[in-house]
Amino acid sequence: MKLLPFEKPLAELYDKIAQLRKLSIEGNIDLSSEIEKIESRAEQVRKEIYTNLTPNQIVQVARHPHRPDTASLIRLIFDTFVELHGDRLFGDDPAIVGGIATLGKFRVVVMGHQKGHDTKENIHRNFGMPNPEGYRKALRLMEMADRFRMPIITFIDTPGAYPGIEAEERGQAEAIARNLREMAGFTVPIISFVIGEGGSGGALGIGVANRLYMLQNAVYSVISPEGCASILFRDSKKSDIAADAMKITATEIMKLGIADGIIQEPLGGGHHDWKMVAQRIQETVQAELLNFKSLSGNEIKAQRYAKFRAMGRFLEPLE
């Protein structure tokens, strides 16, 4: 498992453990108590590191190449899943996967941004950056969900919508904007999870939800810390300061009233235990679907509207 820069203290301990193990086997010596000691020390260090992550470090966890991806989570969470393809207009975008799924008695439409875990996968998935046809596929599936009264589950994990010539030609702005408007109109509940990077309009394009959850080490921001740093701080290396200033962590997004809950990850980040992450998301999905069962379609729509209507901080003194 790739260690992140701030996990360096762990690297040394892990190396030492490996050496001791090798020694123990080669020399046929019992070093188990020494190994245990270092292991417990490593656990201690890991706990220390992970209970005090800076926003910038959290960004790195959120982008970890082995972080659980949408397609894998879907298969771990749901009983059945049939992937559906295409926007019926232009193409099928591998940067967004979606389909129909069941979970116990619940029937849902589920979709999310899809990143890869290696270069080849990432190129195929365009690093999780959708083109307009991705958003249009998502919309088609959501419209189907609304028609067949199936709740919508979305997983958000993208650096942003793809900034390319053809994406602009085919209306990236239009595709995202239309989704924002249409999602506001659906009468089925929409439950969204930011599972990694929630990057700007490209994230929001499938995120106009009744309920928004964030994984503990996920981030959600209007622009990447690097982008913010290079524009506002005039120095792209100041992304750590920008990450801090923009309030992009789960805790901050929750404080601002944008997220409704945080899903704890295993110590050391979600990439250490996909199943645990999946299980916790599954529990949340089930609980939320039960909650919304008692609401009518119009109530569901009104709740979503009220939620977004209240977003904003401004002053309005009496004249």
Binding site: A173, A177, L180, G201, G205, I223, I231, A245, R309, M311
Partner: protein, 287 residues
């Protein structure tokens, strides 16, 4: 986001005529054809270059004068103003930036909204102001746009919005992003109520503004030569590592790609708007 371009170009020449004034406010050089124009001539031509047709950026006041019937514009939500709720500090604090922009412009934020009429047809309207922090959309812009839309949901007056914005206001973090959803959600209600919404996209309309209410008009009208994009040209150039074709992301490009209904000269805009509004509006009384 494309606000990058705004920041990058801030010091360079822009479509804003103020920056081009020669002392005395008498002469101005056309950004496009370099013709030296008599300021008064330019103003009497709705700030369209009489020689090449270049459309200068204009202030909300000018827009109101050119578009609405005299003295019909009544501003609403005048006291709504921004707050530095994240205590955001980059090279300076957001609070200071707000103060500076306000004192320079005499306005609270980057949009002016209210009611007006166009050839006698009443509308709810909003006009974005690029001169105020690049027309960036924070909570105030989102709230004011949402309010005029919600008013139209009630009183059935068509909505006409003039956009000019570099995108989201980063100093308000995630809250600025959410304004995209908030304004678009309001438009969903408007659509359901069958009230027309005309979006007039002016230079520039990029980032989060383009990807929300700006592009969602029942009819989208672009001013000639306006930059209209989701991703800014610089970001795209950095991504694909090649120069962009001429005219890319300009109004005429969007017309060819099916994103806007028409590219309309500013001087014909009032007539066009009034014909469209007359045709689209369902004859009925407000509830």
């Amino acid at each position: 986001m494309s606000i990058i371009d705004w920041f990058a170009k801030k010091e360079k020449s822009t479509g804003s005529s103020e920056r081009l004034n020669i002392p005395g406010d008498v002469w101005v050089k056309c950004t496009s054809c370099s013709e030296i124009l008599f300021q008064k001539d330019l103003e009497s031509n709705q700030k369209v270059c009489p020689k090449c047709g270049f459309h200068f950026r204009i202030s909300p006041e000018e827009r109101i004068r050119y578009t609405f019937d005299t003295n019909t514009f009544i501003e609403k939500d005048t006291t709504l103003g921004p707050t530095d709720f994240l205590r955001f500090f980059d090279t300076e604090s957001y609070a200071d930036r707000i103060r500076k922009a306000q004192s320079k412009s005499g306005k609270n934020d980057a949009v002016v909204s209210g009611t007006a009429s166009i050839n006698g047809l009443p509308v709810n309207t909003a006009i974005m102001n690029f001169a105020f922090m690049g027309g960036s959309m924070g909570s105030v812009v989102g709230e004011k746009i949402t309010r005029i839309i919600e008013r139209s949901v009630e009183d059935f007056k068509p909505v006409v919005v003039f956009t000019s914005s570099g995108g989201a206001r980063m100093q308000e973090g995630i809250m600025s992003l959410m304004q995209m959803a908030k304004t678009s959600a309001a438009l969903e209600r408007l659509t359901e109520q069958r009230v027309p919404y005309i979006s007039v996209l002016c230079d520039p309309t990029t980032g989060g503004t383009s990807a929300s209410f700006a592009i969602l008009g029942d009819i989208n009208i672009a001013e000639p030569g306006a930059l209209i994009s989701f991703a800014g040209p610089r970001v795209i150039e950095q991504t694909i590592r090649q120069k962009l074709p001429k005219g890319f992301q300009r109004s005429e490009f969007l017309l060819a790609h099916g994103m806007v209904d028409m590219v309309t000269d500013r001087r014909e805009l009032k007539t066009t708007l009034s014909t469209i509004l007359t045709t689209l509006s369902i004859p009925r009384e407000p509830i």
